[in-house]
Assembly symmetry: C2
Homo-oligomer: 205 residues x 2
DNA sequence: CCCATCGCTGAGCAAGCGCTTAGGGAGCGC
DNA sequence: GCGCTCCCTAAGCGCTTGCTCAGCGATGGG
């Protein structure tokens, strides 16, 4: 389907210089494993092979690290969903693409996704507001597909906002339970979930 | 202050003495708002109107508080799902009841549910193992309903374990996004979700 | 009226936290 | 060689954390 998903390392290409990227990747792993509040700056620096003080050359605070991770992750999510919503094809095809690529991203980058989706409350007020706005754009993209499908008679969806919520919720929760060592590949989960969501909205019964 | 949630107080009836219950309810609120690691023992004791030291008369450690909350919550979840699985009626009726009551519980007690579902990793190894076992019982109850429905030709479910996972995931994530001040009541969400899940598994299209 | 018991508090300890500061060493133009 | 810049470290500051402990006031049996 769409262009190959970048790998874990390549996803942070835009973060420079090298030391800042290494710290950020270390922070993602630590936050995903233990949560933001349980992670110490010493732990992050240690994973990146640096002394505790090195962190503060590249980031003002620990919270700024989380903010950078959260913003980059949400921007990626918005891009994935808007690409699907803007694509050619029937509403069913666009919805399937949206769910599949969104789920694959959550499964493949489940460490990043876990931080992005579950550490939102650890952000400061203005940083959180910025990220909440990006989430609204995610919702809007999915809702647009559903509304198109209802308008064209493709879908039977009595409660569009509620179903949008449920679809997003289903995809996001993948980050919580997905385990790379488990028996399902990200793509298998994506295909399964696209089918389940299609069943939720298809008309006729 | 919690008059809006009539069952909230009654849910912790079994916790005695009174001071221990007040501390536990304070801990649920604090953990749900800020997360386990961001909550201090001083905060919990303060919410219960006590000094920091009072906590350690009733609980050995902060982790024991989380364990008690998590265990009681999971036991309730198991009871809800097994009651639905064991009920009379068609598989569709039992599935609808399971989803509806499970979702209503997550919405009504979303503070408790948030702690129960998202602070699992903060438990010590042996306490976590105990709780993970209870979660397997939850999964098993839902899977049993799906298998019955497939056997009787009521459901069309190509991937029973995967669909079980998705149904549980959908219900659990309610605890993350549900807001008591929002425009949906717990019962409305329960009815909506029961319908969406029914559409996932119904045969014919 | 006394004193043991229970539930609790005030004060504080050792450890660990986020973050700062002074300074070292490699690479560069001149 | 010299000085300048850029990354980085060792040491540590001020503060908060989970948890402890000696002791206090209220209660109730004798």
């Amino acid at each position: 389907m769409d262009a190959a998903e970048p790998t874990e390392g390549a996803a942070w290409d835009e973060v420079t210089p090298d030391a800042a990227r290494r710290l950020l990747i270390a922070a993602v792993e630590a936050f995903a494993e233990q949560g933001y509040h349980a992670t110490t700056t010493r732990d992050i620096a240690g994973r990146a092979g640096m002394s505790p003080a090195a962190l503060y050359i590249h980031y003002k605070t620990k919270e700024e690290l989380l903010h950078r991770i959260s913003r980059l992750g949400h921007e990626k999510a918005v891009r994935i969903l808007q690409a699907a919503a803007d694509a050619e094809g029937s509403a069913a095809e666009r919805l399937a693409r949206a769910v599949r690529s969104f789920v694959v991203w959550h499964a493949e980058h489940h460490t990043t996704a876990r931080v992005v989706q579950y550490e939102l409350d650890a952000l400061g007020p203005e940083h959180r507001a910025e990220v909440v706005d990006l989430r609204r754009q995610c919702d809007a993209a999915v809702r647009r597909i559903l509304l198109d499908g209802v308008r064209d008679g493709e879908f039977d969806v009595p409660d569009v906002p509620g179903t949008t919520l449920a679809v997003m919720s289903l995809c996001i929760d993948v980050a919580r339970w997905f385990n790379a060592a488990g028996r399902r590949t990200p793509d298998e989960v994506g295909v399964l979930y696209a089918d389940l969501v299609n069943r939720m909205v298809r008309s006729g019964a």
